[in-house]
Symmetry: C2
Subunit: 323 residues, 2 copies
């Protein structure tokens, strides 16, 4: 790449927008240089506060993200936005065609917005989103908003990468039961009932509060964070200050109780484990063993050999190789 | 275990219900003996036709499954049913409290019904469901119905394990857009519009047909399977024969075009890769390396070392160990 990856890293650390964009492209394309870049910038990460925003499609997550970014800008913080847009693993098409444009902040040079779509697995996408967050972090963005469409595992992964996770619902999301089924109740540090000028909003808020009330306590010792529900009309900017207030409150709670450190520690550990497993697999599936798998597969299909035996055979081959 | 795992295997191969139940329990509890059992029965698998039934919560999947099982029983086939019930990864609670009882077939000794809930990751659950399907297959069930609640990755995994995948929708699922967003359009070999006596059914069928019409072709060569939509009222048994007819048609298409063989080959390959990766990781994370990770994590948190360097260090330690 022109200028080299070191130049990109230096640019990122200086907060240069073009370098940030190029760095995220390296990450998104899983370019070989991206590892070098991530290593070089890593020592300067850890300063940004990461906020995950998730919820069902159509709940207005982009609008809330947009307005929150505007709020943080008024407090003079530099804001990074990553909109995670999981692609169908089959067609390769993005799920969100109708992405709301972030009109409030998209011309602001202290807001960096990037939409990321997966080319392959959802798992791959959430990894890349975390790496992009590192780049935004190292380049001096104090707040990173990570928005993801709610389609299962992906939002849980993004929640695992955030310091505070907000789940955005609308009155039509029903009585919260769907959110509960989708696992959103457990990842929410608090809920936003968006479009709350619509009929049924109060009832929807009530039923979520009821479900939250029945939630088993985490069983941990020490202070406990109780998720709440805040009403908003994102398109009119209503409720944004309350949301920002809850984020600040949750951050303070976590910093004082040591939860933030715990959370970040667990996150880093998971990440190192993922890196190790990725490298192990890459080292394992060389041409030779891929060839063995192809050649022996017929015998497994014919039931002359079990899949378990073939796996063991491949592992033994790997061990011999190491010697 | 009483009688030993070999006794269970022999019982499974003889079609003994108690042995099948015990075998699936071994798999579900990830007991050490389960591997031995799966190895022993593997040569007798590959005869069952596996049908995946998925769709959003409340679409009536259990009812359709129940009625389809009854249909296959009338053709004298032995039927196995696995209802995959993903648990929230956080609370450990099952998502389906209100499972429909399979009243039509639950007393039939030639129908084996098992509901499986995950204790840990969804990935783990779909693996166990596939292993349970192997047990049902080896024990002489000619048709295996695998039902899963539609919450993201899990139904895609189950679809990957089925020979024919049916997506059940209801008129209220909207205009199919939600199904498209959730990735269900791509995995469906055909759709069932259940509860089609409700208002809006015809319109819902039409809009799915329209979306299907716009679907990009798979780009492959040879004959192409075009998914269709069939209307049903599961609770009254309406549409069940049509569904069974489409299953038979899809099976015939796949057998004659060679697609079934291709599909099963790809499935087996993926499974062997998964087995290898699982064993690799188990071998890697011994007490020593888990200890290194714990000890060095502080340095990574303090930004004195990058996660990438720690991962490399752990891999190098592994290589030395192998020598």
């Amino acid at each position: 790449m022109k200028g080299g990856v070191h130049t990109v890293a230096v640019g990122v650390l200086q907060g240069d927008r073009r370098s940030v964009a190029r760095g995220i492209s390296l990450v998104e394309n899983a370019a070989a240089e991206s590892l070098e870049l991530l290593k070089e910038i890593y020592p300067k990460t850890g300063n940004a506060y990461r906020i995950g925003i998730t919820g069902p499609p159509g709940a207005g997550k982009s609008t809330i993200t947009n307005k929150l970014a505007g709020y943080f800008r008024r407090t003079k913080q530099r804001v990074g936005i990553i909109a995670v847009d999981p692609t169908s693993p089959f067609t390769g098409g993005a799920l969100l065609g109708d992405r709301v444009r972030m009109t409030d902040v998209e011309l602001d040079r202290d807001v960096f917005i990037r939409s990321m779509a997966s080319r392959g697995s959802l798992g791959g996408l959430s990894k890349k989103a975390k790496e992009a967050a590192d780049i935004l972090d190292a380049s001096g963005h104090q707040v990173i908003l990570m928005e993801t469409v709610g389609v299962g595992q992906s939002e849980l992964d993004v929640a695992g990468a955030a310091d505070t996770t907000i789940v955005v619902l609308v009155p039509e999301s029903g009585d919260g039961i769907q959110a509960m089924k989708a696992g959103l109740m457990e990842i929410a540090d608090f809920f936003v009932m968006n479009k709350s000028d619509r009929p049924g909003a109060d009832q929807a808020v009530m039923s979520i509060k009821m479900i939250l009330g029945f939630r088993p306590s985490s069983g941990g010792i020490g202070p406990v964070w109780l998720p709440d529900v805040v009403k908003a009309v994102g398109s009119e900017g209503k409720g944004i200050e309350e949301i920002a207030g809850l984020i600040a409150g949750h951050r303070k709670f976590q910093e004082e109780s040591g939860r933030l450190e715990q959370k970040r520690r667990a996150r880093l550990k998971r990440r190192i484990r993922d890196l190790v497993e990725e490298q192990l697999e890459e080292g394992f599936w060389n041409e030779q063993r891929t060839g063995v798998l192809e050649r022996e597969l017929g015998g497994v299909i014919e039931r002359q050999m079990t899949p378990y035996d073939l796996a063991t055979k491949l592992i033994e081959d790997f061990r011999r190789d190491m010697n």
